[in-house]
């Protein structure tokens, strides 16, 4: 399936394509496929491609490539049926210590959702989640879609400092804080994996399009 896209310049050197749909899963799949196609066959003058939940930002040198040319290429790429279904993509297993000090919001999340903490963990680990985008902070993955049973809004009051490695959920998505950052998502667990290292190649553990399978750490 495909959805319609609107194109707006973000200044003279960037073009933002936004999906006119609430089906973020389909829009994201098209944005990820278009970003991958641009990475495989870059246009001259292209400086950055940032796929997001339901949008794609392309930064370019407007003296090398015109807005019209970039928009025309994006229209073709975004309309192409994305052949890679939800099962395609590299699968990364991430072991998480759920609850307790590592996931201080797990009990409250469970109570809000009318579930037991065990059920929340079971739902969070039930199937792989897609890396829909990297943003907010270096290496921060937006993972989704979460099963509807885990949907809840952000915390009313954000935390000033979320510990690095915290695994969180909010607004139908899951995320992992790569560093100590302010954050408004619900913290349900923590991983020891390092998600971002500027000196590593690549610097981010996860890339858009990857699949993440969370695994509950059973060790005491």
């Amino acid at each position: 399936m495909s959805c319609s896209w609107s194109f707006t310049p973000l200044g003279e050197a960037a073009l933002l394509a936004e999906a006119d749909t609430d089906d973020h899963v389909a829009a994201n799949r098209a944005a990820l496929a278009a970003a991958a196609a641009l990475a495989a066959d870059p246009m001259p003058g292209l400086s950055a491609v940032v796929p997001a939940i339901a949008s794609l930002l392309v930064c370019f040198d407007p003296l090398v490539r015109s807005h019209a040319a970039v928009a025309a290429r994006l229209r073709v790429l975004l309309a192409a049926p994305s052949l890679d279904g939800p099962s395609a993509g590299r699968v990364v297993r991430i072991t998480v210590r759920y609850g307790g000090e590592d996931g201080p919001d797990l009990e409250e999340v469970a109570a809000t959702l009318g579930m037991t903490p065990f059920d929340v963990v079971a739902a969070h680990t039930a199937q792989p989640l897609r890396v829909m985008m990297i943003g907010f902070a270096p290496g921060f993955p937006y993972l989704g879609p979460l099963p509807p049973s885990l949907h809840l809004p952000r915390r009313a009051t954000p935390r000033a400092a979320v510990p690095p490695g915290s695994v969180a959920i909010a607004a139908g998505l899951s995320g992992i804080y790569p560093a100590q950052l302010p954050g408004g998502w619900h913290l349900i667990g923590r991983t020891a994996l390092r998600l971002f290292d500027p000196y590593a190649e690549p610097p981010a553990l996860l890339a858009p399009g990857d699949l993440v399978q969370f695994v509950a750490d059973r060790s005491p």
Partner: protein, 326 residues
């Protein structure tokens, strides 16, 4: 080698940043006034993206261990040596052991000066750039703002230095000045606001608030209410984007902005006008003026031509540049 004797409020190593690292969620970063950085580098014979020092507001003092060719561009932050002003936007000679002092801004505008040295600041690149990423704690010198006692390596200068006395004419600089008019293109989320939101914005004089930094300027003087619920999925943003959080006070994203944002984007300042914004300090004012993509592209072409114009040393400048050098 350059030794930092005083840093002022913020002194950092910057180049043209790491745009390609945006895909890892890393801010593009780099000099906030990219024109002034590129001009300073050209004046001393460096590639435009060589690493230089970004001085914020003043208060910095730098000591040169060896003779060097430098150029100071950007805002006038009262650069001087031995109690006398040094010519700005000009390649000058600095003698061994000399100090360059930035007393601070005395005129009605200016926030950031750039000091480029022939050979560039030779800190190791991280993710393809020597720019300091203050939030990420990498790049520049040890990933942090410079402080007194820091030593900065200077790169080797290939061949003869023919740049001394080169001067960058005022007519070929951005239209720096107090209360600059920043041209904006309409943003993708105008439907979140009243239909005449850009016209209304352009009638106002806005101020840069005290809670502003290299990531972004919070602007006061405008209250842009949403006219309908505007909950967006996070999307990619760039420096120049003006996003509006639910409190209605616009935020102008600058060089160190996050790669994505979740607030409606009302407009975007065009690239050629970002150097004007870069020269604003908290308390300074600005205006936003709607423009068209055609005008923005013409401004971009003019900027590229200005940055590439032939540089000649004229005799008067050469004498001024040599004066005080030893």
């Amino acid at each position: 080698m350059i030794t930092v004797l005083a840093a002022g409020p913020l002194l950092t190593v910057q180049d043209l940043g790491r745009p390609d690292a945006r895909r890892y969620g890393v801010p593009a970063g780099g000099a906030i006034d990219r024109f002034a950085l590129a001009a300073a580098n050209r004046l001393v014979g460096n590639p435009p993206g060589a690493a230089a020092l970004e001085i914020t507001a003043g208060g910095a003092e730098l000591a040169f261990a060896g003779a060097a060719i430098i150029a100071i561009t950007g805002g006038d932050l009262g650069a001087g040596r031995a109690g006398r002003p040094v010519p700005c936007w000009t390649a000058i000679h600095v003698g061994r052991g000399e100090h360059i002092v930035f007393a601070g801004r005395s005129g009605p505008w200016g926030a950031r000066a750039y000091l480029a040295v022939a050979g560039g600041i030779a800190v190791p690149p991280v993710l393809g750039s020597r720019a300091t990423d203050l939030a990420g704690g990498f790049g520049g010198l040890a990933g942090r703002a410079l402080r007194p006692g820091d030593h900065l390596p200077v790169g080797a200068v290939p061949g003869a230095t023919l740049s001394l006395g080169r001067h960058w004419p005022a007519a070929l600089r951005p239209a720096y000045g107090p209360t600059p008019c920043l041209r904006v293109l309409p943003g993708p989320h105008g439907a979140c606001f009243a239909p005449d939101v850009l016209a209304a914005l352009s009638a106002l004089t806005l101020q840069v608030s005290a809670t502003s930094n290299r990531m972004g300027y919070r602007l006061t003087g405008a209250q842009l209410a949403y006219t309908r619920p505007c909950s967006l999925a996070s999307l990619g943003v760039v420096p120049g984007v003006i996003q509006v959080p639910p409190d209605g006070a616009p935020i102008l994203l600058m060089a160190d902005a996050q790669t994505t944002g979740g607030y409606p984007v009302v407009a975007t300042v065009i690239g050629p006008d970002l150097p004007l914004a870069a020269q604003l300090l908290p308390g300074d004012s600005l205006r936003l003026v709607p423009t068209t993509l055609e005008v923005a592209l013409a401004a971009r072409r003019a900027e590229a031509l200005a940055l590439a114009h032939p540089l000649d040393a004229d005799e008067g400048d050469l004498l001024a540049a040599l004066a005080g050098g030893n």
